[in-house]
Structure formats: C-alpha cells, structure tokens
C-alpha cells in the first residue's frame, strides 16, 4: 500500500486530541497532607535483590536464634526425711459430676 503524503499524515495526526489536566491534580500537588497519611498512602520501591537479602537475613536470624530453655532454680534445697510431716487435719471434699444427684 502506498504510504501517506504529508498532508494526509498531518490531517490524521490532528485527529488525535489529548484531554486537559484533571482538576484534582492541583490539590494533589499543592495540598498539604497530614504526615500520617504517608503510612497508608505511600509506597517504597524495594529492589528484588535487596528484598531477597532481607528475607534471607530474617530467616537466618529466626533459625539461629537460640530457643529459650526452661530455667531451673540455681540452688536446690535438699530434702531430709524430717521435712515430711503428717497432715494435721484431713478435709476430704467430694466432687460429683453434674448429672449425678446426691
């Protein structure tokens, strides 16, 4: 197919019109926003290698952090036979199930 000449091309290019800038843009640029809006309205571009490294470091940290073991009392008092004394008063208590009547 034969290419367009200058006039034909210019006429076609003129058919593509662009809209004006939207009115809300001025507010977005010059409007003062509260600082805390940054917390949910902003994004931080993080390069993938940096993100991978960060994840690797966090995983390593979690993996190699020593688990807390149950602590034993440092001094254990030795019990003697004399420490065991008979019960002075016995108070038995009968516990029944709910569906059982007395």
């Amino acid at each position: 197919m034969e290419p367009l000449n200058d006039d034909e091309l210019n006429r076609l290019l003129a058919r593509w019109e662009a809209p004006p800038a939207p009115s809300h843009l001025e507010r977005r640029i010059f409007g003062k926003q509260p600082w805390y809006r940054w917390l949910w309205a902003s994004s931080i571009p993080v390069p993938v290698p940096a993100l991978m490294l960060l994840l690797l470091l966090v995983s390593a940290l979690v993996y190699f952090t020593p688990r807390s073991k149950p602590t034993l009392p440092t001094t254990v008092r030795e019990l003697k036979f004399s420490d065991f004394q008979p019960v002075s008063e016995i108070k038995p208590r009968i516990v029944r199930r709910n569906h059982e009547s007395n």
Partner: protein, 173 residues
C-alpha cells in the same frame, strides 16, 4: 522561585505537560504521576530552574520527558529506546475509530521517535527546543522525527480515506 511562582507555572503549563505525558505513556494515571512528580520536584528544588537558560515550558517538558523515559525503562528495560530498524504492520481500519488508531500507532513508535513527534507535531516545539529538552543534537532530533513520520506514513496508510469519512475525534483513555 517561590511556591506561588510554581503555582503560577502550574496553571500556565499544566495542560501542555499533561498532554505530553499522556501521549508519551498512553495512560491517564501515568500522565498524572508524571505531572505530579514534575511540579513536586520543582517545589522541592525551586532553584533548579534558571530563567536565563531556557523558558519555563521547555524546562518542564524536559523534566516530564525524563520521568516518562525512566518509567518506560522500568517497565520495558530490555527494549531499545530508539530502533532505527523498527517496522510495524499497517493498522486495520476495522479495529477502531481514527483517533484511537492514530493513538495506537504513535504508541507503537520507539520512545525517542515518539517524543520527537509529540513535541514537534502536538506541542509545536522547534527542533532546537526539542534538542535541548531531550539532550541531543538538532540533527539527531531531525532524523528521529523523519523516521517517526516515515513509519506513521506506512502504519496509517490504510486510513487514507477514513480521514474524509468521519470527523469525530475521541480521547484514548
């Protein structure tokens, strides 16, 4: 520059910068982001503009052009910015309205050709102004513009007679 100077510059040039960004990216939201970043950078660093070096419009267009290019590089980092051997198929007139087809065809051009075409044809910038805005020699800009027009002559050739049939234009949102 004070903030009120930047506001004044915004009111005077916002539509031109937005139109340029919109035509370069083909996206209203990307164009908004570019205009936003352009004027916010001027607010943050008002001394970046030196009136003795260039008028405000080419200065802002140069910022917008760099922002559009950075965006394009991020999105399509493996494609060349200026492909001399670029060849596109002619459009099919049945696939849309004339304005949409022209928009799509301009979007197909490699970015350096597209920016030369948009700045020259739509923003009525001179070759010298474009060369300053895109940081290239005037001869280079002329060659890019020539290649862009040659490509469009072929791509849009099937629309030769659509031009007379319909005069309706639409915005390619």
């Amino acid at each position: 520059m004070t903030e009120s100077d930047v506001r004044e510059a915004y009111r005077t040039h916002k539509d031109a910068i937005y139109r340029f960004a919109w035509r370069m990216t083909g996206s209203p939201s990307a164009a908004e982001d570019i205009v936003h970043d352009c004027f916010v950078s001027l607010l943050r660093n008002p001394n970046a503009y030196d009136p003795s070096r260039a008028p405000m419009r080419p200065f802002l267009l140069a910022i917008a052009r760099n922002l559009a290019r950075n965006r394009w590089r991020t999105e399509q980092r493996w494609s060349a910015l200026d492909e001399e051997a670029f060849v596109a198929e002619p459009v099919d007139p049945a696939t849309g309205q004339v304005a949409d087809l022209v928009a799509r065809s301009v979007q197909l051009l490699p970015p350096f050709q597209r920016e030369a075409l948009v700045l020259f044809e739509y923003e009525q910038r001179s070759l010298e102004e474009i060369a300053r805005a895109v940081d290239a020699e005037v001869g280079t800009v002329k060659a890019r513009l020539h290649r862009a027009r040659e490509n469009l002559r072929r791509i849009l050739a099937p629309l030769r007679f659509s031009d007379q049939r319909s005069s309706q234009t639409t915005w390619n949102h």
